[in-house]
Symmetry: C2
Subunit: 261 residues, 2 copies
């Protein structure tokens, strides 16, 4: 009775966050939802309704064939000149430029860009590591919200109602160290707004909107790690309202409202 | 046997994150460590060795008497003029300026400052809400690392070896919504470095240093919430190495390395 009470009457309080081990190397065309569901079952922690599944963008990109062969890339004169100055591969620079709609800062060897999606990050999020072989680059998914929606729909087909976040690892202004943040979302809104709510003393809350999606992505990184091969993390026990119109758009600050761009 | 296996042989995988309810209103001189330990016991989730305890800066400030009576503040001519233009309380503006060593951006009614600690945030982190009464402001702890060390030492006196993070809620460049980040730390290093490590294909990792402290602070926000009265979150199951020389300093990007300041 005591033991039953431990397991069922008093469940673990708060959130559980765990990684999904055993995900194989992902190649183009792989059904990510089925792969994740199967791996979670094999690991003894099957997905459940209400879970939030955080998927590293790299495996999303690989499943969607978002891989560039550097040998196929013809660098522009601008890419060639800047790469020579900073000892970089001009084909890589060219891919970074093609993934960008604007260069936000270009200082020394550092290039901070705004991607076509509207993310501000180093090198347009282009990842030369873990691309499966030298001479290839993994670029961000073309539409990470659509990627997240596809994975969520795949979970639903397999009987699981889970929200999905596609995450990537970004640097920040002013602070050293990178954190995982959300670049795509499906099933839940990324931001929780407190606007118009007041504290017991009648002051409007100083915090007006919390970016849950970024906090959830960062929390999942704690179990996924960046160098372990654990590209999927699951957050269980977090309450969210189903919203199938949700996208990451509310997180992207409009340039007109941005003081640092 | 099956049930015992569930509870003890196969513990909950990954991390658990839970809030500590029942923390009373904090006033100057309160022993925060003892207050948190007692509340956790009363809630049925006592702290344990290895826990990471994330404490909202507001209650740290209150316990340290970091409260400003606005009636005691004499605004400077600069504070008076700018406040009149943007319909703000000049005494509040004066406190924001005194907590800053530099104004990073001042556009319309928005003031982004660098605090004396070196944090870049809106209004020097000054919090007019939840200050206990109108006419008072809560300012950030004078030395959040020292605050964290005191709380960690208090836990140790009560027999618990826990790391401590003092958190606050900051906005970001480029992204809407705020997230909780670390402003002070004790017992563990805030950044995990991968510099010099290589992936299976011989590429250095794109991610070179993860700011665990900020991811942990954000994860704890998911259970604390900003409007619930739950100022303490506990992260259990995350492996960390004890380092009693740790501070938040490695997270503060030097101005010479900062492209956005």
């Amino acid at each position: 009775l005591c033991c039953i009470a431990r397991c069922y009457v008093h469940p673990v309080p708060g959130l559980q966050i765990f990684g999904v081990p055993g995900i194989p190397e992902i190649t183009g065309g792989v059904d990510l939802a089925a792969t994740i569901v199967d791996a979670a079952i094999a690991a003894g922690s099957p997905l459940a309704d209400g879970d939030i599944v955080v998927v590293t963008s790299k495996i999303v990109s690989k499943s969607e064939g978002r891989i560039i062969e550097l040998a196929d890339v013809e660098p522009s004169p601008f890419a060639i000149e800047w790469s020579a100055e900073w000892d970089k591969d001009p084909a890589v620079t060219e891919v970074v430029l093609r993934e960008a709609k604007r260069i936000v800062r270009q200082v020394g060897p550092v290039m901070i860009t705004e991607t076509h999606h509207g993310f501000v990050c180093a090198n347009s999020g282009v990842d030369q590591s873990s691309s499966g072989a030298h001479g290839r680059l993994v670029v961000l998914p073309a539409d990470p919200d659509a990627s997240a929606r596809r994975i969520r729909a795949g979970f639903a087909e397999l009987g699981v109602d889970a929200a999905v976040i596609v995450s990537d690892t970004f640097g920040r202004a002013w602070r050293e160290g990178q954190t995982d943040i959300a670049i795509g979302i499906a099933g839940m809104q990324p931001i929780l707004s407190y606007i118009g709510q007041f504290d017991p003393h009648g002051h409007e809350f100083r915090v007006q909107a919390v970016c849950l999606a970024d906090e959830l992505a960062g929390a999942a990184e704690l179990v996924k790690g960046n160098i372990s091969r654990m590209p999927v993390g699951v957050i269980r026990g977090f309450q969210w309202d189903v919203d199938d119109d949700a996208t990451i758009a509310p997180v992207l600050r409009d340039q007109s409202r941005d003081l640092f761009r």
